[in-house]
Symmetry: C2
Subunit: 339 residues, 2 copies
């Protein structure tokens, strides 16, 4: 079962779908970071007017969808289908956020890679004409993630220097069959990669090999080098994972260059905001992509972005059972022109 | 955001993918039920030779994939992509089962609807030529589900009469672009439906409205009535949910007829096996479809099956917070001829 698939890992989309609308909603801390001017909405506190952190997360996801759909000129205001996921057990944040939205729903789980997983699948479903449009939405919430994956916040646990900080945020991107772009022109799906890392406080190290696998596959199968893109954007490897990814490519003789960035590093001021290695969570790459980068493409700042969110697929149970952390990275090329 | 989408809910696949291979692996109890002769493999006990129930579930999922791929004549033995999911938190059963399989991986979460969700997405991805083949695989395990969703097994909790029994089992179906069939000819994606049911011991009642929504949409958008199909198969509504679904259709003046069945009712002898309302879990519909029905189609018993697995999208946390249970049902038409 382990033989490598010989053919190309990248799927070209001649009828590349257009990014019709996007939106981001983030938490207070994210709204105090370097990208604060780039998000659509910043909620006042961790509850966002709801009775629980979990419900707050759902309300932010719902709001991001609402904003993105309103900007996309969809017939009837509804997308042809929804692709969504999050970090809560049973992906509850998305299910509860979207239960009043009368559109076909595809529930995804790719941990922090879910935003690019959803964009890959949505791009193919729209490019093939099966849906005229699709909305991709993901979220995470620091408090709902902490109490589920780690410790009650009231303990005030000390974090290790390699740890990341789960972003409170949601992002949504709507794709349509036609439109002025930018377009999802290429899809490079990820395979599961397990490099044997077991340290739950060092997700960057666990996920970097998956990013290396997918980005290498993308470069090899398209003949494009890193310099083809104005921005190469990983999801949330964080500061250490980003360095490991650069090192892995350096070992291959490839320089990722100055255009390589990581959403987890960009979203916080790592020095003043006490987030150690940076942000993580499905909402990290979703809000940074929607808030900062798609906005920038719209404003002509960038023309070609390779977006590669990464996810760690372990659970608290598998870690207690001594398992290592399998990871994945899906990539999409977002370009201002079809090609 | 709640306006209904006017156009058809069903997607026709003129280049309908072929079911190239399928396999099922189930637990001891399932291997003592009415379908015992229909499964490929029956494991000896809940551990299936592994150190934990969670690992046992992964090993069964992996084995089902291995068997289904071996029968599908795939180039290099690997599918073009994998679509998989399960009930474990963070969908860990599938991630760990498939981490050594070097094929693109799409992680799904649709609770017990995951088998039909994966078939819907895989059918569209293969029909559109984005992948030459795809493997759909899901699993569940009574013991891993009980300790995650309910109580430690050691408590010996008494179950209510409306409760269902999580199936220990896995199923896998491989689709290819060409082949002798049967074919996935139609896809009717589900929307999230929340009828307000809060009783975690009555999933059939929570999910039946979602099955009603999707099956009604299928009949209305295709012009096909229930009698078009030799078998209409819901995932795991169980005995009570099955009755509720019949009643909901009766209210519409539609008789689902004798061809309507439910995987959760079929897999156990409800009287002698102490499973109350029947089986549930991602592995229920996956193993019954793969073990009993696709085998039957191959042997000429049935020519047209409408497969509609149902899922309940709550989590233990949302239930503790007083929420109702959102549900979903995706449907695929499996037919011996393209049409």
């Amino acid at each position: 079962m382990s033989e490598n698939k010989p053919e190309s890992r990248t799927i070209s989309l001649p009828r590349a779908p257009s990014v019709a609308g996007f939106a981001s909603v983030v938490g207070k801390k994210e709204g105090e970071g370097p990208l604060r001017e780039r998000f659509d909405e910043i909620v006042a506190d961790a509850h966002a007017g709801q009775k629980s952190w979990e419900k707050a997360e759902s309300s932010m996801l719902h709001r991001a969808l609402e904003l993105a759909c309103a900007r996309s000129g969809l017939p009837g205001g509804l997308p042809g289908c929804l692709l969504a996921g999050d970090l809560q057990n049973q992906c509850a944040a998305s299910a509860y956020a979207l239960r009043d939205v009368a559109a076909p729903f595809w529930g995804l789980y790719g941990a922090c890679s879910t935003m690019s997983e959803s964009l890959c699948l949505a791009a193919m479903l729209v490019a093939s004409g099966h849906f005229d449009s699709a909305a991709c939405a993901t979220s995470s919430h620091f408090c709902s993630a902490e109490r589920q994956f780690r410790f009650p916040l009231e303990y005030g646990s000390v974090r290790t220097p390699t740890a990341q900080w789960t972003v409170t945020g949601a992002g949504c991107v709507v794709l349509t069959a036609d439109g002025p772009g930018p377009y999802i022109t290429r899809v490079t799906p990820g395979r599961i990669v397990d490099a044997g890392v077991k340290d739950l406080s060092n997700m960057g190290a666990a996920m970097a090999p998956a990013a290396h696998d997918t980005l290498s596959a993308h470069f090899n199968s398209t003949g494009r080098g890193p310099d083809y893109y104005d921005v190469i954007l990983t999801g949330d490897l964080g500061r250490l994972g980003q360095e490991i990814l650069r090192d892995l490519f350096a070992d291959d003789g490839v320089d990722l260059g100055a255009n390589y960035m990581d959403c987890g590093v960009l979203i916080y001021n790592l020095k003043s905001q006490d987030t150690h290695c940076g942000g993580s969570g499905c909402g990290c790459s979703a809000s940074v992509l929607s808030g900062h980068f798609l906005r920038g493409m719209r404003d002509g700042l960038w023309r070609r972005i390779l977006f590669a969110a990464t996810g760690a697929l372990m659970s608290p149970t598998t870690s207690l059972q001594g398992e290592s952390i399998p990871s994945i990275c899906h990539a999409v090329a977002i370009e201002s022109e079809r090609c």
